[in-house]
Amino acid sequence: MVLDVRALTMDFGGLRAVDHVDLQISQGEIVALIGPNGAGKTTFFNCVTGMYTPTTGTVTIARPGSEPHNITRMRPHLITAQGLARTFQNIRLFPEMTVLENVMIGRDCRLSAGIVGAILRNRKTLEEEEQVVLDSFRMLEIVGIGKWANETAKNLPYGAQRRLEIARALATEPFLLLLDEPAAGMNPQETRDLVALIRRLRFDHHLSIFLIEHDMSLVMTLSERIYVMDYGKLIAVGEPAEVRRDPAVIKAYLGEDVSA
């Protein structure tokens, strides 16, 4: 089990955005979280990655081969250092930095150079910097945008920006990758390439993947298990075929009056 969420609840004032959600992901799984708009999916993501502090519940992660580790209420940068990396629904790159520099920020939590090293430029710092450039470039090659390394991030085509976000997340050396609507705004060809990329990440790089997605064809082809949320509650869990037939899911998506 790489991620184990127990009874996670998040209240915003009187509004319960996430209500006692349990969720487990095993090593190497691709799991999707779906649900209508406003179901609390992104809030759930933000609770897991530490952007929000959950009201109650626990989040435990375990790097494969290590002891489980409670990360509830940990600050986001520490959670990232533990091996959880995420992308954002509305792309959040560093727009004025180059593509390579964006990925280099992803490497940041694995670096040790300090201020004194920066000023003195001793051998250790220089070697580390050189290594960062290479490692970051490798990440770009993995997602297939190496040729744009020195381009300013905001000038990249949309699909490449999404890929850059993935590359940046990979650079943090995660074992679990959280993708918040990775295919949003992509055309069918870009989506197919994305599916191939995510599969490759799982098989070649042994990552577990947890994604929020609205594109049902992507969810159904890619994921092994699906969690469905509605109004903050988990309403169904299962394999794609099961979930697709689940009356509660159909009701949540299509409304009360349609009989399944």
Partner: protein, 432 residues
């Protein structure tokens, strides 16, 4: 009157539209300024003079000003789509020639030699008055570069920067007064004091950004000044501290002009040190963190950067320089009082950073030199100084928001050989 329809309009009618708009602006402006421009009431003799001719000047001036403004705005809006006029073509050609010239190694070497000669010869050719002005400008260069770490790199709008300058100056003045500490020992102490106080006010404001941070830092600067003014037991209040010793070389007696030259060279040294350090910080892990934090602090945090530490690093590294040159300021003027450290001074430093180009070292240097030297040489226009200042800043923000010399991101070279190595090692285990 209808700027949206310009694409279908022919050229002359567009200019006509500007003209009509400009006319309206000038009439409005004439009405607005009427009471102060036209009427002059002599309260002693009780005579009112009507200076109607002034209104003509106002209308004419505003009309042309507005027309030119509109013209340039339109050009900016059209951007590269605007047909290149003969002037623009000539400018482009000139720029190309300059670029080609810059690439020649001899030219680069020559310009460095000339610059060094000019810097060294300046105090001997310019005399004491010029040297003093230049030293002031150099103080602001260091202040600008220091604030640039906080604003240009870290993206924190800090308006209380001058407080650290004041603290640096006072720490030298007081340590010297009570313990006879000399200038050279005071320099690092001033830097330390500036950096530590910057950190100290940084901790409570870690959660604040943008306008909120600006207000808090502004308040901090005012509080610092008020404390200096009112804590008479320690700081001697508004009377200030006098007879602060000038920088000296042990064993050598310097005359006043010699000291002026000496301080000038100390400042040149400090400017070089600042450039060196800031440049290295910028091109390092910490510099990257600063910029990432400025661009998107949520993503930055999510990527594993400790925002609190990065912010404090930017504040500490920035505040240091103000404390450092504060010591030089105290030593140079030999007299300090709280009036030298008003918020206005903070605003000037802020303007040097914004005008020059946020995050760009040559930009900030240019900005500081322009903002300090131009008013000195335009003494004749002293009354209009602030007006000109405002006009220049507004113009800059509209037409060149990135500053005079904009920051360019560094490009990394990855050799073909390295690319091959990367391509061959496809897996994610990065430690190596």
């Amino acid at each position: 009157m209808c700027p949206q329809a310009t694409s279908v309009q022919t050229r002359p009618s567009r200019y006509l539209a500007y003209a009509r708009r400009s006319l309206l602006v000038s009439i409005w402006f004439a009405i607005l300024t009427f009471p102060i421009i036209v009427i002059r009431a002599n309260t002693i003799t009780g005579i009112i003079t009507w200076r109607w001719h002034n209104i003509g000047w106002i209308i004419a001036g505003t009309f042309f000003g507005s027309w030119i403004w509109g013209y340039f705005l339109e050009r900016k809006r059209l951007g590269t789509r605007a047909p290149a006029g003969p002037l623009r073509r000539r400018i482009t050609a000139l720029r190309g020639a300059l670029d080609r010239l810059k690439q020649r190694p001899q030219v680069a070497r020559m310009s460095v030699v000339i610059l060094v000669l000019a810097v060294v010869a300046f105090p001997f050719l310019g005399g004491m008055y010029q040297t003093n002005i230049m030293t002031t400008a150099l103080l602001y260069v260091v202040l600008g570069l220091g604030l640039n770490i906080i604003i240009g790199l870290g993206g924190m709008l800090h308006i209380g920067y001058i407080a650290f300058y004041a603290l640096g100056a006072y720490s030298y003045a007081l340590l010297n007064f009570h313990f006879g500490l000399n200038f050279w020992l005071a320099l690092p102490i001033g830097a330390l004091v500036g950096g530590l106080f910057s950190l100290a006010i940084g901790i409570p404001v870690l959660r604040l950004r943008g306008d909120y941070l600006a207000i808090v830092t502004l308040a901090f600067a005012e509080i610092t000044r008020l404390v200096l003014e009112n804590w008479s037991g320690l700081t001697f209040g508004t009377a200030g501290i006098r007879n602060i010793p000038r920088p000296a070389i042990p064993g050598i007696r310097l005359t006043l002009p010699q000291t002026t030259t000496f301080v000038y060279f100390i400042m040149i040294g400090l400017v070089l040190l600042t450039i060196f350090v800031v440049n290295r910080l910028e091109n390092s892990r910490i510099g990257r963190q600063f910029v990432a934090m400025k661009e998107d602090f949520i993503a930055c945090q999510a990527m594993g950067v400790n925002i609190a530490r990065t912010k404090l690093a930017a504040l500490g590294l920035g505040g240091m320089w103000a404390g450092l040159v504060g010591v030089v300021f105290a030593a140079r003027t030999t007299f300090i009082n709280p009036a030298s450290f008003t918020v206005w001074e903070s605003i000037i430093v802020l303007c040097t950073v914004v005008l020059g180009g946020m995050g760009s070292i040559p930009g900030v240097i240019t900005g500081a030199l322009v903002l300090i030297l131009v008013p000195e040489y335009l003494r004749a226009f002293a009354q209009f100084r602030m007006l000109l200042f405002g006009a220049i800043l507004v113009t800059m923000m509209v037409f060149r928001p990135g500053g005079l010399i904009q920051k360019r991101r560094r490009a990394y070279r990855i050799t073909a050989e390295e690319q091959k190595v990367v391509a061959e090692s496809g897996d994610l285990s990065i430690q190596g």
